[in-house]
């Protein structure tokens, strides 16, 4: 096995593209309006260091982009740097020696002390070495509510999931889709995850996702989650969109009452010129259980055997995590910075809420870090099917538990 890995690594070395000095191709899948604006900040900062950011945006969700990125790395045509969700996805690539070790830069700059929460850096660490730069903290646990929509039905904007559920029929009557939901597995799975934390609680979630305890997955806590998901499914029945930002757009335009979506949705509100608290409201943990997962994006640097490229990679790594860039990027992206020592006074209402929770230690690890891509895909497929069919809560729960039981 190791031989194959080495072979691949050497193949990668031999045929690495000979980029010009200081020119790095960076692949990522940030293509929506808010995301593109945020990534432009990275490019600007990197270009300012005398290097050149060659943008390799890949449209579609991470699901579309990841295979392209990975097959290029494996195929011996690595890019200079790439976005990847950290966690288990990159493990095998690191194992195969295809990723650049960043430990030196990390130690020189003291990332260990900067990065908060430290779990983010842990996810980048493999056998004691650091292989990726976390760039932001994303949390899924948000519901976004449209003030317009609730104004139309003369109902105050709900303060938690239960109030929302109560108001949903009224929204429906007014011809408003209560819950906007892009019909893609990762969104549906994300929403489900959010409801799990809010309804089943962190302990049950941890048992299932971290410890892969199928019995808990079959238990009453999860049963309640699936029941709630069935409700949510009815709320989202008329949501005819696929992409998450189109769903967000429904909330922005008041066509939908709410959307369960990660904090990146905020970027879309911002671009649409909406103000948190005035035009929309965000509730962490569905307003029930104020806890945020600390997933996020990270950048990896595939091994390229060229000194200039290597230097550029290191320069990019330190640029990405530098305080100014963190602020500029995260403000646009709507995510939280990975370092606790930056000034985010410019942050809006929602980000501030997030920062407060973060400071209070209301954090949990992200699902990405605990489930393999394989298991993730299986769950996403299940969710995709569940949300678009009339599968009963018990059936869905049973199948969910089966997947957990066979996860590794």
């Amino acid at each position: 096995m190791k031989t194959i890995a080495k072979l691949m690594a050497s193949a990668a070395l031999c045929t690495a593209s000979m980029a010009h000095a200081g020119e790095l191709e960076v692949t990522h899948w940030w293509t929506s309006g808010g995301e593109a604006a945020a990534v432009a900040e990275f490019a600007k900062a990197f270009d300012a260091t005398g290097n050149t950011w060659v943008d390799g945006a890949i449209a579609g969700s991470g699901g579309t982009a990841r295979p392209i990125i990975i097959s290029r790395i494996l195929g011996g045509d690595p890019m200079g740097a790439t976005q990847l969700n950290h966690g288990r996805q990159a493990e095998e690539l690191i194992e195969a020696g295809l990723m650049t070790d960043l430990t030196e830069v990390a130690e020189a700059e003291g990332w260990k002390d900067l990065v908060n929460p430290s779990s983010l850096l842990d996810a980048c660490t493999f056998e004691g070495r650091i292989y990726c730069v976390p760039v932001n903290i994303h949390s899924w646990q948000w519901i976004w509510l449209s003030h317009d929509a609730f104004a139309k039905i003369d109902t105050p904007v709900p303060a938690d999931w239960n109030e929302f559920a109560a108001a949903a029929p009224k929204l429906e009557e007014a011809g408003i889709v209560p819950l906007a939901m892009g019909q893609q597995g990762w969104q549906q799975n994300g929403a489900f995850g959010v409801m799990t934390i809010a309804i089943a609680g962190l302990d049950a979630w941890r048992k299932v996702v971290v410890d892969k305890d199928a019995d808990t997955a079959r238990g009453p806590e999860y049963a309640a989650v699936f029941e709630a998901a069935v409700d949510a499914r009815t709320f989202a029945a008329n949501s005819n969109v696929q992409d998450w930002n189109l769903a967000t757009n429904m909330v922005i335009t008041g066509k939908a009452g709410a959307q369960i979506m990660g904090d990146w949705a905020q970027g879309e509100f911002q671009i649409a010129g909406q103000v948190a608290g005035e035009d929309y409201t965000c509730l962490p943990g569905l307003g029930v259980n104020e806890i945020l997962d600390t997933g996020g994006d990270a950048f990896y640097f595939p091994v390229i055997d060229d000194e200039d490229t290597k230097a550029a990679q290191m320069a990019l790594a330190s640029t990405l995590i530098s305080p100014e860039v963190q602020v500029a990027f995260n403000l646009k992206k709507g995510s939280l910075p990975v370092r606790g020592d930056v000034d985010l006074t410019a942050a809006n209402d929602c980000m501030q809420k997030g920062l407060d929770i973060l400071d209070a230690g209301g954090i949990m690890p992200s699902g990405d870090m605990n489930l393999t891509a394989d298991t993730q895909t299986q769950i996403e497929d299940l969710m995709a099917e569940f949300w678009t069919s009339d599968m009963s809560a018990t059936d869905a729960q049973e199948r969910y538990a089966d997947i957990i039981a066979s996860a590794d």
């Binding site: 295979p67 990975i70 494996l74 394989d374 497929d381």
Partner: protein, 300 residues
Amino acid sequence: MSSSSNARKPSGLFRNLSAKIASVPMVLTALVVFVGGTAWTVLYSFTSSKLLPKTNFVGLDQYERLWSTRRWLISIENLAVYGFFSMIFTLVIGFTLAALLDRKIRGENVFRTIFLYPFALSFVVTGLAWQWILNPDLGVQSVVRSLGWESFTFNPLNDPDIVIYGILIAGLWQGTGLIMVIMLAGLRGIDEDIWKAARVDGIGTVKTYIRVIIPMMRPVFVTALVLIASGIIKIYDLVVAQTNGGPGIASEVPAKYVINYMFRAQNLGQGFAASTMMLVSVIVILIPWAYLEFGGKKRG
């Protein structure tokens, strides 16, 4: 009496040397890519390869998992539905159009050009065009509703139960022209005397087609069938562009499953197992065809 020849007896390997050298690309493609690649994939489908191909064999595990995965079953079901209707409609529409065009009509060229142009377009273009036409808020549904039929509902791309038919409409639009052309070529290849004989015998046009012409065109139908079938199994771009498998996983197809598992889910073994199943289904189609086509006339 005979002087010895100055020509050397060429040894077996160097006979037709130029031809052999010229055939190297073909031989390599056949052996390395087609045979080698296929064998490699089949072999690795018995391993638990994840992101990288590894030789830790796990027997039929990948296949067991494959056949207990909802998404694969849905993919297969979609393929069966799409395949069945695509087969029937493509043949029926293709033949009917060909027969209509064969009635010595005016403007045959114009009609043929219109029926066939979608075939020049890629599946991506086809998928996007139909995605737009079937858009529930702005497309056909809204147009019909605006005409006064308020309750009209035709929203296949967002209804998991009928989404595959939405793809079918686009697929038929793109592919029937080709079959029509093939059928037309077949019809044109039929002896004019057959028509004269049918006329003398007083057999009606439709009846002549059904009882005489279609049986005569058996080889053309078989070819068309194989063509449609092999196209169906490969269906990928259309789904990606039109629905990307959605809503949910309602319009997933095997080819997409393979690529998803190979690259996205980082479970190569599962992807290989799924692609091997696709291969098997092709073989199931090919063998009877090969038997029909070549089995009978081996001595020819």
